[in-house]
Amino acid sequence: MESGSEQTQASPEPSQSSEQAPSQLVTALQREHPEWISDIINAFGEITIVVPRELIVTVCSFLKGWPEGRFDFLADLCGVDRGVEEEPRFEVNYHLFSTSKHHRIRIKVLLTEEDIHVQSVTSIWRTANWHERETYDLFGVIFDGHPDLRRILLPEDWQGYALRKDFPLRGYEPYSLK
């Protein structure tokens, strides 16, 4: 049944509708739950909603089951260090995709260096597991409720968080000498 409905969208049409749909969806979402959205950024044909940190699981599980949006696919999750001076310093981006409607949306959560905690979304998408581990490994973002929050790319005894802006490109000292 999945393939039947998809075949009809084979024409170039979906690209058009997928560019318009998310902004209308976000307007509808804002009307329904204004407290969920602290900011909307519409740039380069992509739409970003900034969500308060405590509400990320609520918003994600709503968007996943939302009949109008159907954002059932977590395409990517990545951390960003906006710079040592910036406040709040860190952000986590969730790139959602709809496998049936083919539109995309970005959800952004802002985190301060002192309180670098955010709820894990592994209960909503299991694919978030490794993405969150990677973000923890490289930025030190702590995902509360993650089942297995260990370093994934760097060795377990690595000191510091390599993708932070204040971590030098070549590291502090040869790793093997420690």
């Binding site: 999945e2 393939s3 998809e6 075949q7 969208q9 084979a10 170039p12 979906p14 690209s15 997928s18 740039a43 380069f44 044909g45 992509e46 970003t48 059932d72 696919f73 977590l74 395409a75 990517d76 990545c78 960003v80 260090d81 906006r82 710079g83 981006n93 790139h95 995709f97 496998t99 083919h102 995309r104 970005r106 998408w125 299991r126 694919t127 597991n129 490794w130 993405h131 490289l138 370093r151 994934i152 790319l153 760097l154 060795p155 377990e156 390599a162 993708l163 971590f167 490109l169």
Partner: protein
């Protein structure tokens, strides 16, 4: 009891009444883990109880390195991620930068991008097919696949000068136009290739040992596949008709006529059949692209971003100045962030790029399809025989260069 004391702490032993469980480490030098992947397998006899992938052996800090390189210097780093599909990586990276810059790419450059990317997809699938068959004991297929792949690498070498690391695409177009005689050589290859696909099917598809080793192994349902974020042939092997070339068309894919193959079963065999059918579709797209090649420019009209021609530099002062500035200082990219997904040979390859307005990106993140597909391995492998883990890894088509970055 004595075995439990000797195991390093990170090995996890599940309590079982008969105490028949054994924890073994597979890799990182195991040939069928396709690189340096290590698996901690908890076995009950020959049955896999638990799988824990251990990655990071190839981690080279590429995402950190991007932040210290100018935009155009980043292209060569992308080659080294998924080294079986470097042109796909180039494409995702340059398209993300082009989205930030708002560049229009000329028609001929887009057609050449489609043509070379589809050739590269065939080459990537051929490596998968050869090694997948080799893992399961069919050695001959490997030689047939690499014979065909050699022809594609020769074509890519003719166009770009590199075989494994072409860096052929530039922000704003291509490094240079196709060389004289390329179209003829490409046509020769494309004319011969359907016969080679027939050979692969003769060697493998009708082979009852291969069927027994793949059918019903490593099953995943469509719902689970979406939950695990699988993409590309792994997702289509579970019956989900999703191809980013169709869903969010880029670089002119909406103008090409091709099918999106899907198989309903979700097992190793289904993923095999999807890729085998994709070989045919990629061949068809390449043929269409080749017939659409018309003379024209291959670089966008953006003198502050695109390097000028050598000839123009000798005659025009402004071209020389632009060349100097682009090389010495780079070009500024408007501040903002984009996520650009493409359909690479292994699935959704997404590039998240954030610019703060300077000549170097402030953050580049690659959503590698291999990384996400591998994360589903514990789910796929549990309850299977240990010998089938090799078949399942092969069917996921992973490249560790992209997983570890």
């Amino acid at each position: 009891m004595s075995t439990a004391a000797n195991i390093p702490p990170q090995f996890e032993v599940v309590d079982r009444p008969l105490d028949t469980q054994m924890t073994i480490s597979m890799g990182p030098q195991h040939p069928s883990t396709h690189g340096v992947l290590r698996l901690e397998l908890v076995l009950d006899g020959e049955m896999v109880v638990k799988t824990t992938p251990d990655i990071g052996y190839l981690h080279t800090g590429m995402e950190k390195l991007f932040e210290y390189k100018k935009y155009q210097q980043g292209i060569v780093i992308t080659d080294r991620m998924d080294y079986l599909n470097p042109l796909g990586n180039n494409l995702a990276y340059v398209m993300a930068a082009e989205k930030l810059l708002g560049l229009e790419i000329p028609e001929r450059a887009q057609t050449i991008r489609v043509l070379t990317c589809e050739l590269q997809r065939i080459a990537s699938h051929l490596v998968w097919l050869g090694t997948h068959a080799l893992d399961l004991g069919a050695m001959t297929v490997f030689f047939y696949c690499f014979r065909e792949r050699e022809k594609i690498l020769n074509l890519i070498e003719a166009a770009s000068g590199g075989r494994l690391t072409p860096s052929y695409f530039r922000i704003g177009g291509l490094m240079m136009d196709l060389p004289a005689g390329f179209e003829h050589r490409c046509k020769q290859f494309l004319d011969d290739f359907p016969r080679a696909i027939g050979e692969f099917h003769t060697l493998l598809s009708g082979n009852r040992i291969f069927q027994k080793r793949t059918q019903g192994i490593g099953r995943i349902s469509a719902e689970n596949a979406i939950d695990w974020g699988l993409s590309g042939p792994c997702l289509r092997g579970s019956g989900v008709n999703l191809d980013i070339r169709r869903a969010n068309p880029y670089t002119g894919y909406e103008k090409y006529d091709f099918e999106v193959p899907t198989e309903p079963d979700g097992d190793v065999w289904a993923r095999y059949m999807v890729r085998m059918r994709e070989l045919k579709e990629s061949h068809s797209i390449s043929t269409q692209a080749l017939s659409r090649l018309k003379p024209g420019p291959v670089k966008a009209d953006a003198p502050k971003v695109v390097l000028p021609d050598r000839e123009a530099m000798k005659k025009h002062m402004d071209a020389l100045i632009h060349h100097f500035l682009i090389i010495a200082e780079g070009f500024n990219v408007p501040a903002g962030e984009v996520y650009h997904p493409i359909e690479a040979s292994k699935g959704e390859l997404g590039v998240y790029m954030k610019s703060d307005g300077g000549p170097k990106p402030s953050r580049v993140h690659f959503r590698g399809p291999s990384f996400v597909n591998l994360s589903a391995l514990p789910d796929l492998a549990s309850g299977e025989m240990v010998a089938d883990v090799v078949a399942i890894i092969g069917s996921l088509d992973i490249v560790l260069g992209e997983i570890d970055r």
